[in-house]
């Protein structure tokens, strides 16, 4: 079976786009040939800085001929129907159609569409110009006088097709004035001459001879191993970095690793600063001492050439640039060290956090108060939490973070440590951004947790207040991540956090800042306030409320100021958002989302850790035979009640009367319920959900027996009503533990 080889040779393709582009080329070409009726055995795509290549193996020389019979309208059908049929089948006249007979339908037309097989080369030649012209580059450009777009100017195209045993033929096509052929070029500097290629094997071998390693993964291996070996020879260890390795492999066709060094005085800089300086600006790897883990003053650089002087000039050049960059970084760092973090605070007042939510300075003040309050939950000293929150954002205006944004927090930690803050406070400055993603660790130190929670609670409440919620894939302020962060922090540290109250406090502080920053009228513009006169009243009410709260009351969520109706709606919505995230987290842990729903439906579920414990206990109960049967009994009771309540238009509340309980089974059930209620209440108060669930399981036997022995809709109306009251009581009692109506199955 013949193979196809394609190479698209261009000026330097951005490293970050190469791998994706090679895969896109593979997908587009294989889809096109399959759509045209060809099959293939396998395909592999390659990319270097100057070329995308594709090998498709085991294509047939031509597509198979096809014959299709398409049924049309009956003979004598209206003109319109016939026209449509002819158009669809591609026939010129109805005389080209055959007439067939069906015993039921009579005579009708059939179009026989026969297509000859087509040579694969024709199919490919036809598909390629479109694929190239419409290639999905993230950004593409025109050049010269042409109108073709490619990532950078495209220079030549190889496209050959043929079986292993024969000379392959060129698949001829033209796009943007470039004719396909069988000629490519070697390395830009080491072997720039052009040469003919036939198929993958000789293509790769000739490229290799012309100093081009086609396969990016092989280039990565070469760089990694050469750098590891060079490090080893110096008694050092390479600090691996997969992202950097991928990028460097995309910057070289013939990678060669060299080792450079910088002045040891620069090692006074934080390791991360050195690493980033050398990585971001120079795309070089740093090396460390395997014994201590500290960086050494050596770095590994990758060049694209085998220099005739062995690389001395290249090393010297790179060392010079590294030294210049590091001395910039050192200048910034030393300046930062001399600037007390606290003295950066006024600068935060001039940074807009969000146009509608005021400055970073205001946000810091909110964080201070929230963190102070949260300290009691996390077990931190309130003064420590406040101090950490105060300093948490101060590194944002440091020169080092200005240079390396991704080091926010970490720089703050180093500066705080150097400036004599306690380790707990310094750590909290770094950790308050965590967890930054699913893979990131969750803070566990009390001060860190307090500030990390404050940070997330504040953004959620703030953005909810101005109605900037995530929609679909859009989440510019990473609010999903913030919600997820709260959930993980609470669960992994098993915190007793009254989340709802905390959110209310955070909301109020945000509103107070909105009002201070932009005036009382700004509150009127908030989406959740609503329009019209009622809105106006609410705003003035809210404003005086917010002002009134701004003092002592606002500082404590344990001294609860009741939620206003406005706040309730907004916080319900926000809690719902958090509940959705919680379901996702729990699903990964094997807890069904309906169990979480059954707990949240109880209302006032503010403590996420307890929600999860209760849902887990509920899951265990339902997993048992008693639980399963109890649920069936509950559903039966609930169904009967629903039907009767609907019929009568009333509910059946109130105490069942002992005098009206006739049958032993209903007497037993009533007694069981009364006993159970007394048993469950203290268990719930003690948050002993497993205990409560076990107690609930005792109800199974009497409930089962009740439904076997008793006909609920007794003829005597009073007996019937009393039995319905009994069922209502079962439902009520069970709902103390969870809303069983939310449970599926």
């Amino acid at each position: 079976m013949p193979d196809l080889l394609i190479e698209l040779f261009s000026e330097e393709i951005p490293a970050r786009m190469q791998r994706r582009a090679a895969e896109d080329l593979k997908k587009l070409v294989t889809n096109a040939v399959v759509e045209a009726g060809l099959t293939y055995e396998g395909a592999k795509a390659f990319a270097t800085p100057r070329r995308l290549a594709l090998h498709v193996a085991g294509l047939p020389a031509a597509s198979a001929a096809t014959r299709e019979e398409r049924k049309g309208p009956r003979v004598g059908a209206p003109e319109k129907a016939l026209e449509g049929f002819l158009r669809g089948a591609g026939l010129a006249s109805i005389d080209d159609a055959q007439v067939q007979n069906d015993p039921k339908k009579g005579d009708f037309y059939v179009a026989v569409i026969e297509k000859d097989g087509r040579p694969a080369t024709d199919i490919i030649a036809e598909a390629m110009p479109t694929i190239i012209s419409n290639f999905p580059w993230p950004k593409s450009q025109r050049w010269g006088t042409g109108s073709l777009k490619w990532v950078r100017p495209l220079h030549s195209i190889v496209c050959t097709f043929g079986p292993e045993t024969e000379e392959p033929e060129i698949v001829h096509f033209e796009v943007g004035g470039i004719k396909s052929g069988n000629v490519t070029r070697g390395h830009r500097f080491l072997a720039p001459q052009s040469f003919e290629v036939r198929r993958l094997e000789d293509y790769m071998a000739k490229l290799e001879a012309h100093k081009v390693v086609l396969d990016a993964d092989r280039r990565k291996d070469i760089i990694l191993h050469d750098a590891q070996n060079a490090a080893l020879a110096l008694g050092l260890e390479l600090v691996e970095d997969e992202g950097l390795l991928e990028e460097v492999a995309g910057l070289n066709e013939w990678p060669t690793v060299l080792i450079g060094a910088y002045d040891e005085a620069f090692l006074a800089l934080p390791d991360e600063v050195i690493k980033l300086t050398i990585k971001e600006n120079q795309k070089n790897f740093v090396l460390r001492d395997p014994a201590t883990g500290k960086l050494s003053n050596k770095f590994a650089l990758t060049t694209n050439i085998e220099a005739t002087d062995g690389g001395a000039v290249i090393i010297a050049g790179n060392e010079k640039v590294v030294a210049a960059r590091l001395s910039d970084a050192k200048f910034f760092w030393e300046g930062d060290l001399k600037t007390k973090l606290e003295s950066n605070l006024p600068k935060l007042d001039s940074i807009i956090f969000h146009e509608k939510l005021g400055t970073v300075g205001q946000r810091v003040q909110r964080l201070e108060r929230l963190a102070t309050e949260l300290a009691s939950v996390t077990g931190a000293a309130p003064a420590d939490a406040q101090r950490a929150a105060k300093l948490a954002k101060t590194d944002l205006v440091s020169a080092s973070v200005f240079e390396f944004t991704e080091l926010q927090g970490l720089i703050g930690r180093y500066l705080a440590t150097a400036q004599g803050e306690t380790p707990a406070i310094a750590a909290a400055i770094e950790d308050h951004y965590k967890p930054a993603g699913a893979a990131d660790e969750v803070p566990s130190a009390p001060v860190s947790i307090a500030v990390a929670l404050a940070d997330k609670v504040d953004v959620l409440a703030g953005f909810w207040a101005i109605n900037e919620k995530p929609t679909g894939s859009k989440d510019p302020f990473a609010l999903r991540r913030a919600a997820l962060g709260i959930i993980r922090i609470v669960l992994e540290n098993d915190l007793r956090l009254p989340l709802r109250d905390v959110l209310v406090q955070a909301l109020r502080r945000n509103l107070a800042d909105v009002a201070t920053a932009r005036g009382e009228d700004a509150l009127k513009g908030l989406p959740f306030i609503g329009k019209g006169e009622a809105g106006e009243d609410l705003v003035s009410g809210l404003f005086s409320f917010v002002n009134g709260c701004a003092g002592k009351v606002l500082d404590s969520f344990s001294e609860k100021v009741p939620e206003t109706a406005l706040e309730r709606g907004l916080i319900d919505d926000l809690m719902g958002f958090i509940a959705e995230r919680l379901k996702v987290v729990m699903k990964d842990k094997g807890i069904r989302h309906d169990l979480i729903d059954a707990v949240f439906a109880l209302g006032d579920q503010s403590d996420l850790a307890l929600v999860v414990k209760r849902a887990e206990a509920l899951g265990a109960l339902l997993g048992s035979e008693d639980g399963e049967n109890l649920l069936a009994g509950y559903k039966r009771a609930a169904n009967i009640l629903r039907a009767e309540e609907k019929k009568e238009g009333t509910s059946f509340g109130g105490e069942p009367q002992s005098a009206l309980l006739i049958e032993p089974a209903e007497v037993a059930l009533f007694e069981a319920i009364c006993g159970l209620e007394a048993q469950v209440a203290p268990l719930l108060v003690a948050n002993d959900y497993n205990g409560a669930m076990s107690a609930l399981a005792q109800l199974r036997a009497p409930v089962d027996k009740f439904f076997v022995d008793i006909h609920v809709n007794a003829e005597d109306a009073k007996v019937r009503e009393n039995r319905l009251k009994l069922l209502t009581r079962i439902r009520h009692t069970m709902h103390q533990v969870a809303d069983f109506s939310k449970i599926a199955g």
């Binding site: 000026e11 330097e12 951005p14 490293a15 970050r16 800085p49 950004k139 593409s140 450009q141 025109r142 050049w143 010269g144 006088t145 990532v151 950078r152 100017p153 220079h155 500097f189 910057l251 120079q282 795309k283 070089n284 650089l301 060049t303 694209n304 050439i305 220099a307 005739t308 002087d309 001395a312 000039v313 290249i314 010297a316 050049g317 790179n318 010079k320 640039v321 590294v322 210049a324 001039s350 940074i351 807009i352």
Partner: protein, 315 residues
């Protein structure tokens, strides 16, 4: 002119002006018109009307020139070894971009003494965008041994208009290149005239005092009230000139704008005034955006008017 035949004081690896003249000679040999610097403060060689305006419209164009650039915020009172508020760019603009532009660029590096057999030259992704000019293009920063020495761009849009044909733009950072080929670590130590001993003139001799004085001016002494006024004046003047241009076009009935280049000068003046105000730290983050937008609107209007001139392709 090969390096072997030039006198020692013109050797691009030993003389700053030798480097500059070698590049000029090289691109003259490739058919470029060698322009002189535009006689006005600009932030980059791209602002020279020989690049900005000439890259618009269908007419071919080839030019190269040295352009002194002013970046008031980059001033360091002459104390930083490689940061300057005034420096030179060598700018090449080829329209349409030739097929072998990369080769020509590499050849120019060889001409100034960068042997690609021992130096590692790389084209690293760097997309170019000028918010003030409403322009963007794709290209690279060109690295030599890990150092960025040039910017290489295929213009896609200028003043908000598609570039058809596409121009190729090369920008060499002359001081940086010279420091590299001369092997100096401090820009002020560059040998400017290629002579030795008493006859030597260094970059510091030429520019150090100016860097000190202009840093003071840019950061401390420039009269901000006057600058705010001037910004407004240049903005108004640009609009006024364009209005005249439009009116004159209507009156002549030939569809040709009459006063575009003078209007574009006002864009450059406004842009420089804005840069000074920025250096004086009197423009807040939000205002900054709106000033950039105002300059861009002017640049776009000039670009649109230029397309209605002979040079812009209107015959």
């Amino acid at each position: 002119m090969s390096r072997d035949t030039v006198p020692a004081h013109m050797d691009p690896t030993k003389s700053f002006q030798g480097l500059l003249l070698t590049l000029q000679q090289f691109w003259a040999d490739k058919g470029c018109a060698i322009l002189q610097p535009y006689d006005m403060e600009v932030g980059a060689g791209t602002f020279h009307p020989g690049t900005t305006l000439r890259s618009l419209g269908p007419r071919p164009w080839k030019a190269a020139y040295v352009q002194p650039c002013r970046r008031p915020t980059d001033g360091r009172y002459g104390e930083n070894p490689n940061r300057l508020q005034h420096y030179y760019q060598f700018q090449v603009i080829l329209k349409p971009s030739p097929e072998n532009l990369q080769e020509l660029y590499l050849e120019s590096l060889r001409a100034i003494g960068i042997d690609t057999g021992v130096h590692d030259v790389r084209f690293v992704e760097d997309d170019w965008e000028s918010p003030t000019l409403g322009a963007w293009g794709l290209g690279w920063e060109c690295w030599c041994d890990g150092m960025e020495v040039s910017q290489f761009t295929y213009f896609q849009q200028v003043a908000g208009f598609e570039c058809k044909p596409v121009s190729g733009e090369l920008t060499y950072g002359l001081e940086r290149l010279a420091m590299y080929v001369q092997g100096v670590d401090n820009v002020y130590d560059l040998n400017f005239n290629g002579r030795e001993g008493d006859e030597k003139i260094s970059y510091g001799d030429v520019f150090h005092q100016a860097e000190q004085e202009f840093s003071r001016h840019n950061f401390e002494y420039a009269d901000t009230e006057m600058l705010f006024r001037h910004f407004k004046d240049h903005e108004d003047e640009c609009k006024r000139l364009l209005a005249f241009s439009e009116q004159a076009k209507e009156e002549a009935g030939d569809g040709l704008q009459k006063v575009v280049l003078p209007a574009y000068d006002q864009v450059n003046k406004a842009s420089h005034v804005f840069n000074l105000l920025d250096a004086r730290g009197v423009i807040s983050v939000t205002e900054r955006q709106s000033y950039i937008l105002r300059v861009r609107e002017l640049a776009k209007a000039c670009g649109a008017a230029f397309l209605e001139t002979k040079w812009g392709g209107k015959e």
